[in-house]
Symmetry: C2
Subunit: 272 residues, 2 copies
């Protein structure tokens, strides 16, 4: 998907919501377990209920891999089921030497037909650029993550650069691609950090986890993270897909997605 | 597998060789393509030919994922076929927030029964420790990789620590586990770096890629990387598994593995 197509979706739906499909067979409503493929059945109903309110879906690969090759078949069916105009993100956090990253790219972009994949930066340029060799496909590079452990290395001060490591990752990697094929994972929900990040990458889209269950404020993110094209995808997983554990799980998921979309619509009106 | 069991294997076989199963359907001998499961058939013959000379096998997940769910079935059969006394490494370079890393651990340690997995450090402690919750299972954390891009971030000087980032990763992460459940990927083949690394982690096993096709010297690695328990697993992938592309591919693979084992035997005699 091109940047223009993504921006178009955002304007049309007045939403920059990404729904995280962290589908866990142990957390889904019991009545689905008797279906032939409970993971796909759950995802299908979630997609039907939320597709009007979101512009992206982000399956987390770990949840599917934990179910073995059956889980990957459920994932494949899910990707095929997602409407073509909605952006898809393989939250896989891959990254390896060049020839290996090329194979991961083949797996996610050719076999599974995702629009994008999250990639870890530790191994540097040749571990990232093979994912950019596909027209209309995107790398979403980890810059600043939202977990506690993000402080261990990402916040270290780099000598002679007046940067923290995550800022150095932004400064170095922005040369590897363009705002047409490279986004960043930014788990920041604080004004100060979002401002610093927008100084380094004013044009790139940011994928922001950590709003909702992980406690961040959507308004802060919109106020300090939005750029002239919106430039944000804000993810919510558990708050939407596990809004109810009963027969009404999809209805409740749709309601939660709609609430977030309506809040986003306000911010798009005010800050864009 | 416990550390004592691994060391026992090394002493018994006089080898610290790890064979990388980077099995690419496009590179394997043509006569295998008509078998029902070419990837497994290739691996089976490679394992039969090399099991006497190596102490570990390291399938690279990208090669299997690139073939979709069929590839993962080939991988599962491969893991089951590897003799139980040989250490298995899922070269997967995973790492995500805690609950997600727990699911990857379930996938690799429970579903697939690997002994260990390679993990990327960028997301910090809570992305790594869930893999250490299993008795007899190991994390192999990326410290210094052997690719060109390793210079982009791993070699950055950290302010106030007189460390490069990869050294900081070693110093910080060694507190997360012990030498009984934590190893490091160290793509160093130079004396200077190996000495510096051994000062920080004298007891831990190091998994060293980059000998052979990637150009490192096995003798340097043995001389400056070995500790009182050997403490090394040295990987060779392409140099062994693609030693020949004909009907004799397994015989040639066995010969290459034996050559490396014999060289390793010398170094074990001299440096251990």
């Amino acid at each position: 998907m091109t940047r223009a197509e993504l921006i178009n979706q955002i304007k049309k739906k007045k939403s920059f919501l990404c729904v995280g499909l962290d589908t866990d067979i142990r957390k889904m409503p019991a009545h689905l377990l008797s279906s032939g493929d409970p993971i796909f059945e759950f995802n299908k109903q979630i997609i039907d209920a939320t597709a009007d309110y979101c512009v992206a879906y982000k399956p987390n690969l770990a949840f599917y891999e934990a179910e073995g090759s059956m889980g990957l078949e459920s994932l494949q069916k899910t990707i095929e089921y997602i409407p073509k105009e909605i952006f898809t993100i393989a939250d896989a956090k891959r990254g390896d030497i060049g020839n290996t990253s090329s194979l991961y790219a083949r797996a996610f972009f050719e076999k599974m037909n995702f629009d994008s994949i999250t990639v870890a930066p530790y191994m540097g340029e040749d571990s990232v650029v093979p994912f950019m060799a596909y027209d209309g496909k995107w790398v979403i590079l980890l810059a600043l993550t939202s977990n506690k452990g993000s402080k261990d290395f990402q916040d270290l001060d780099i000598n002679g650069r007046s940067s923290k490591l995550f800022e150095e990752v932004l400064k170095t990697s922005r040369k590897w691609g363009t705002s047409e094929n490279l986004m960043y994972v930014v788990g920041a929900t604080k004004a100060e950090k979002l401002r610093a990040i927008r100084k380094i990458v004013p044009d790139h889209f940011l994928l922001v986890p950590g709003v909702g269950a992980q406690g961040g404020s959507l308004e802060e993110v919109a106020k300090f993270g939005m750029n002239h094209d919106c430039g944000l995808l804000v993810n919510s997983s558990r708050g939407i897909i596990y809004a109810s554990s009963g027969y009404d799980f999809a209805i409740k998921a749709g309601e939660e997605a709609k609430k977030l979309q309506q809040e986003m619509e306000q911010y798009l009106d005010v800050y864009l």
